[in-house]
């Protein structure tokens, strides 16, 4: 039983990290263009690069 005292906080912490990761991805605009992102996987890298 005592291990629950560790395990439950650990589970919540991991879940919370997932939530934070989601918040970060939302803030950084990763959901702005879902269709484009799907296609960009297939594109060659050169179009994605910035010019010097």
């Amino acid at each position: 039983m005592n291990m629950l005292i560790y395990l439950i906080p650990i589970a919540l912490l991991m879940g919370g990290m997932g939530l934070l990761a989601f918040l970060w991805s939302l803030r950084s605009g990763q959901y702005d263009d879902l269709q484009g992102a799907a296609w960009r996987i297939l594109a060659e890298d050169e179009t994605d690069q910035r010019k010097p």
Partner: protein, 761 residues
């Protein structure tokens, strides 16, 4: 549409809508350090190839820093340098680069990012409630699998602590809306949702305090999670279409060249034009504000403003309204009204007055809620009282009532409508049709009458040569040779459709408002309207003819006549046939002359055609049909159609429509073919029957589960299973949209095949 290719002609047609460098600079936003950001709407991008083609084309320009295509919103964001080596750059090259890559590009004014904020809040709420639901479920499973007294209590307490903030944060959308509805004496889906969530939390907390066996924390949080998914889908669908539609600012000029009193000229934004200012309009530009011609002569194309299909000649003191396209000569206008008060504001007034019919429409989910929520609340109350009076156990009665509320909570109902509508909107999006919001699909499915505008909707607004009245073969060659010197739409049609080798002349001059004059030795040829070509003594033919007429004269003597008719939009005939086969009535409401309208109606086999209608009369026609109990779908594009688009039960506009027309329409189609209309109706009808099925499934599921709850057998496990299963069934059913109803479509197509055979016979 074949992938990533456009025919040469349409690219050519695009180049006429190019904007000046000043106009582009006006639209782009300064980023500092000499950089500016330009947002463009590119409605044709649809795949990965398009993304890299456009980005590569833009990055190859030396002054472009970054270019990024957003495929979802069909937009390009481009950052460029204002100066390269102390020379100002020409940002209109960005548009030119996209055009030459084969895509249409339109200037775009970014709207306030209000909408994205709502979407992000909804997504955050999903994240929070999802996190809470997952963790609570984890603890609940341990309870269900037999955690005993002390452990169970601890798990319940932890669940309660996770659930409370999640409910407050993620539930606020529902609580707010429910409070609003109740305050106005109405009820909607959010009322039973809010009640079930808060009651179940309160009862669970009470149970936990008293070391009870059952708690419903998991149910109340996962309920919110599912419902938020539905709500977010609904919101995202609406925003996606709206962003794409708002992005098209094809027909509104951003500014004009102001002539200062000292004669100098500079480009100013449209909002800065004051009444009394003199502005210069070059040939090929649109008129930004209503005004009076001070000097210059020209022909203006009013098709977007009034629906009149042939160009009108203007000279000094003529009034010109905003939105008209200046065709042949440059004009100096004195603005009589500022942009806000131009013709547009009148139209907007009419639109606001006309929108009443649509505002009364209640979405199907709300109509369902009006029936559903009283029944649910009554059931819960009856079981509470029943267990209290018959069993004598009021606590048990309370638990049963809460179980009933949770099991019947419209979780599946909340998903039933938005999921179908999102799938349908996605299907239409792939076919090039944008849906502004879900209720538009519901209304479209009910339409039984289709009213078309003529110019720009049934026809493309570009003339086509239909007849030549001449005895002399050489006349065509002469006319062709003359017409090559003009950009007047009739001249262009003449060049496009006569195949003779053009004749050359000693000199050719274009007389704005008249036509073309050429000298060849001693002969003078004139091509234009009758009065111009044959001298004023000849009375021009009456305006009864359905065709536009151009006269070629030699030394003032009538030599040949050319007749033009508007080109039908591709797919118009098939579209009308399909609508007829699907049992819809069609009619034309147009601002053009009656004879021209009759001609089009005859060509398409439409029985009723009304011409010469003012915007107000179009609205009245829609309202008259509404009054007869008909549900009118209005299809139109011009400024003059906008009030009717707002007044009709549901409306569609092509992407080439005026800004205001697109704003007023519920659906916008991007491809040229008019087939989009029956296509959209077919998908809307399919989704309507899927929605009905979903309601039946969700309610059927509840009917099965409710007796279990009333019998007091609903443990949290059963509630959780019932809720998720009904949601999953509803979502799965919605995904059948593409397969569903295909057979019926085939039948309609088959019907057309037969009618075509009959016609051929």
């Amino acid at each position: 549409m074949t992938c990533c290719t456009m025919d040469a002609e349409s690219v050519l047609a695009l180049s006429t809508t190019s904007s000046s460098a000043e106009e582009v600079r006006l639209v782009s936003q300064p980023l500092g350090e000499g950089l500016r950001q330009l947002d463009l709407s590119v409605p044709d991008v649809h795949c990965g190839g398009c993304i890299s083609t456009i980005e590569r084309a833009l990055l190859s320009l030396p002054f472009v820093k970054t270019a990024r295509v957003n495929l979802t919103a069909r937009r390009v964001t481009c950052v460029y340098q204002e100066e390269v080596e102390t020379r100002a750059t020409d940002p209109s090259k960005i548009l030119a680069a996209i055009n030459s890559a084969g895509y249409r590009a339109h200037l775009f004014t970014p709207q306030a990012p209000e909408n994205d904020k709502t979407r992000n809040q909804l997504l955050l709420a999903i994240g929070v409630s999802g996190f809470a639901a997952a963790n609570i479920m984890l603890l609940s499973v341990s309870v269900w699998s037999g955690a005993d007294a002390a452990t169970r209590d601890m798990f319940h307490w932890i669940s309660a602590m996770i659930a409370a903030p999640a409910l407050v944060y993620a539930g606020r959308f529902f609580f707010k809306s429910a409070r609003n509805a109740l305050r106005h004496g109405r009820t909607n889906m959010d009322v039973p949702i809010s009640l079930a969530v808060t009651l179940s939390y309160a009862v669970s907390l009470w149970e936990t305090v008293h070391h009870g066996e059952h708690a419903w924390f998991d149910a109340s949080v996962s309920l919110l999670f599912f419902l938020l998914i539905g709500r977010t889908l609904d919101h995202v669908m609406r925003e996606k279409a709206r962003a794409a539609i708002n992005g098209l600012a094809r027909l509104a000029p951003r500014g004009a060249l102001l002539i200062n009193p000292d004669g100098s000229r500079h480009y100013i934004a449209i909002e800065e034009i004051a009444a009394g200012d003199e502005i210069s309009i070059a040939a090929g530009e649109r008129v930004p504000v209503d005004g009076i011609v001070v000097s210059g002569e020209s022909d203006v194309d009013l098709s977007i403003v009034t629906g009149e299909s042939s160009p009108v000649a203007v000279a000094s003191n003529s009034e010109v309204s905003s939105g008209a396209m200046n065709l042949t000569g440059s004009l100096v206008l004195r603005a009589t009204k500022i942009a806000k008060n131009s013709l547009l504001s009148e139209i907007i007034g009419l639109m606001e007055a006309a929108e009443g019919g649509r505002a009364r429409y209640r979405r199907i989910a709300d109509r369902a809620a009006a029936l559903y929520s009283p029944v649910v609340h009554l059931l819960a109350l009856v079981s509470f009282l029943g267990w209290g009076f018959l069993g004598g156990d009021w606590k048990q009665g309370m638990l049963v009532a809460v179980a009933v509320l949770i099991i019947t909570c419209p979780c599946a109902l909340g998903l039933a409508v938005p999921v179908v509508q999102v799938v349908a909107a996605g299907e239409l999006f792939r076919k090039g049709i944008m849906v502004k919001d879900g209720s538009a699909l519901e209304r479209l499915a009910e339409a039984d009458t289709v009213a078309f505008d003529k110019t720009g909707t049934l026809t493309m607004g570009s003339p086509r040569l239909v007849g030549v009245g001449t005895m002399d073969e050489s006349a065509t060659a002469i006319a062709h040779g003359l017409a090559t010197h003009s950009r007047h739409p009739l001249s262009r049609a003449l060049v496009r459709e006569t195949k003779t080798a053009p004749m050359s002349f000693d000199s050719v001059t274009e007389i704005p408002g008249g036509g073309l004059e050429a000298r060849n030795g001693a002969d003078v040829y004139r091509l234009g309207n009758t009065a111009f070509a044959c001298g004023t003594s000849v009375v021009p033919r009456t305006a009864d003819s359905p065709f536009s007429e151009v006269v070629l004269s030699k030394n003032g003597v009538d030599f040949a006549r050319f007749f033009f008719d508007d080109t039908l939009r591709p797919g118009a005939c098939e579209a009308i046939d399909r609508l007829g086969a699907a049992g819809l009535e069609t009619l034309i409401v147009s601002g053009d002359r009656q004879t021209v309208v009759d001609n089009t109606a005859h060509a398409l086999g439409i029985d009723r055609a009304f011409g010469s209608l003012t915007p107000k009369q179009k609205v009245e026609e829609c309202q008259r049909l509404n009054g007869q109990g008909r549900r009118v779908l209005m299809v139109g594009d011009g400024i003059n159609d906008a009030p009717a688009l707002a007044a009709a039960h549901v409306s569609m506009a092509p992407a080439t429509a005026s800004d205001i027309g697109r704003q007023a329409a519920d659906l916008v189609f991007f491809n040229d073919r008019l087939d989009a209309v029956p296509e959209a109706i077919a998908v809307a009808r399919r989704s309507a029957s899927l929605i009905r099925q979903n309601f039946a499934l969700a309610i059927g599921y509840n009917v099965l589960a409710v007796p279990i709850a009333i019998a007091g057998l609903a443990t949290p496990l059963i509630a959780a299973v019932a809720m998720s299963t009904s949601s999953i069934i509803v979502v799965t059913n919605a995904l059948r949209l593409n397969a569903f109803g295909k057979r019926r479509d085939m039948q309609i197509r088959g019907g057309i095949g037969r009618s075509a055979e009959v016609k051929a016979a």
